[in-house]
């Protein structure tokens, strides 16, 4: 195998087909980066979801002096005795796995974090305006939610019972929708990329028909005849992938990481996740371009 010869043939092929090669690189780059973005979204959603699911399914907010609910206005803010009673009641229920108490102070700190970009709102709110709460983790959220929720609804000192999952579900649905849209566009573009690869290789085979005819004649092996074409498609795919990798790094650091600052918890994607997605998109890109080149060659380079 003479690598120098093969490389120079590939270079000639890529250069002769410059416009097609560029189009191919661009389409591969965009489709792979969209695919990668979709995958990052999937990972982000999973990461967020497991975080919440590992944490809490039920929030029980307690009455404070500014609570508008009638039972709170009637009985006043929750007393320490009520808190203890409620805590004991929740902790003793068999459906409950864990109970966390979030004090008004903690709630206020979190509130200030959430709305740090709206200073006016933060200024108008003081510690004590944000209700303290019990965050409950259930053993079996689907089945147990109603039992636990109805047990504490209306108990003295309880303002509202909130199913965190229903709130989060809306958020998930939004993320899922965005992810699906991105993945669908990526798939359509991948189809376009496949067609482009096929076309590029066909053009390339036509441009090099003299060379391949002579190669066949003097007894070059099929592998040797096809290799420059295969590598041509694969190299274009690899360049496209390299651009896509750059775009994915940008997507992660600009979009997802800035999205993360709206969460007060660390649900960001690690560098490892990013590398995983980039490697996956490389495999997709190379396999796609290589396989398409190979199949096209079988049609246009009969030996």
């Amino acid at each position: 195998m003479r690598s120098q010869f093969v490389l120079s043939e590939i270079w000639i092929g890529l250069r002769r087909n410059l416009t097609m090669t560029l189009a191919l690189i661009v389409v591969v780059a965009i489709s792979l980066s969209l695919l990668g973005t979709g995958l990052l979204f999937v990972k982000q959603v999973d990461r967020t979801r497991t975080y919440w699911q590992g944490k809490v399914e039920l929030s029980i907010y307690l009455c404070i002096k500014t609570s508008p609910e009638p039972q709170c206005e009637q009985n006043g803010p929750a007393t320490d005795a009520e808190r203890t009673a409620l805590h004991n009641q929740l902790a003793s229920m068999p459906q409950v796995q864990a109970v966390y108490y979030v004090s008004q102070q903690q709630a206020y700190t979190e509130f200030r974090q959430y709305f740090s970009n709206e200073p006016a709102l933060v200024q108008d709110t003081q510690e004590g305006d944000i209700p303290d709460s019990f965050e409950v983790k259930l053993k079996n959220p689907e089945a147990d939610y109603n039992i636990v929720a109805s047990a504490v609804t209306g108990a003295s000192g309880v303002e509202t019972v909130v199913d965190e999952m229903t709130i989060l579900d809306k958020f998930y649905r939004l993320l899922d929708g965005a992810r699906n849209a991105v993945v669908i566009i990526a798939l359509i573009l991948i189809v376009a990329a496949v067609l482009l690869v096929a076309n590029t290789i066909r053009l390339s085979a036509f441009n090099r028909r003299r060379e391949t005819a002579i190669m066949r004649l003097v007894g070059a092996s099929n592998f040797y005849i096809q290799l420059p074409f295969l590598l041509e498609g694969t190299i274009a795919g690899l360049i496209g992938w390299a651009i896509a990798a750059g775009l994915l790094v940008a997507v992660k650091s600009l979009m997802l990481d800035s999205l993360e600052q709206y969460f007060s918890f660390n649900v960001g994607l690690s560098v490892g996740d990013l590398i995983e997605v980039i490697i996956f998109s490389m495999v997709v890109g190379v396999v796609l371009c290589g396989a398409t080149s190979f199949l096209t060659l079988r049609r246009y380079l009969r030996v």
Partner: protein, 229 residues
Amino acid sequence: MINFDNVTKVYPNQNRPALESVNISVSKGEFVFLVGPSGSGKSTFLRLVLKEERPTDGRIHVAGRDLARLTNWKVPYLRRRIGCVFQDFRLLPNKNVYQNVAFALEVIGKHRRLIRKVVPEVIDLVGLEGKHDRMPDELSGGEQQRVAMARAFVNRPMILLADEPTGNIDPATSIGIMKVLDRINRTGTTVVMATHDAAIVDSMRKRVIELEYGKVVRDQSRGVYGQAY
């Protein structure tokens, strides 16, 4: 070296066979002219030897191999033992003389050191010494055909097939081409040349096989072009 045993070739969608029950045997080191009008089956014969086509019926042996039993991936190795020259030269227009000849060795993975040694020798053999750097369009037809012959011979094939090599060349230049073919034949290479050129066939006095409508109508040693008429 080449053995056709009752070979018939019918192309798809054609009624008349291109070759019909052809029995030809060419020994090692022979020089054979294949003559006959256009469409008589000369090119089909050459294509069958290269296994570019398969016979409809009959057996073909080339260089001791039964082509019917030669797997597809081994066909390139058969072709390395056969050199080919055509009427239209088939040179690569963007490569010079040296590169055109070297190409034949590069694509079968020969070592660069060997290529540097062998290619100039063969270019000398065909009489193009000092023209290594010329591009094909700077050469005359005769010179281009010499390049093609150098390319066909550079891997020292056992068989050289020439399909009307003098078809695009004037008679005076053709003599030079024939001299090169003769020189190649003298190295022990079997040469099969399909041609229309009566003057050349008559002057060489070699074995002549005449085809007509796909059948062998004459096969004589030391023959001439038109004796059957």
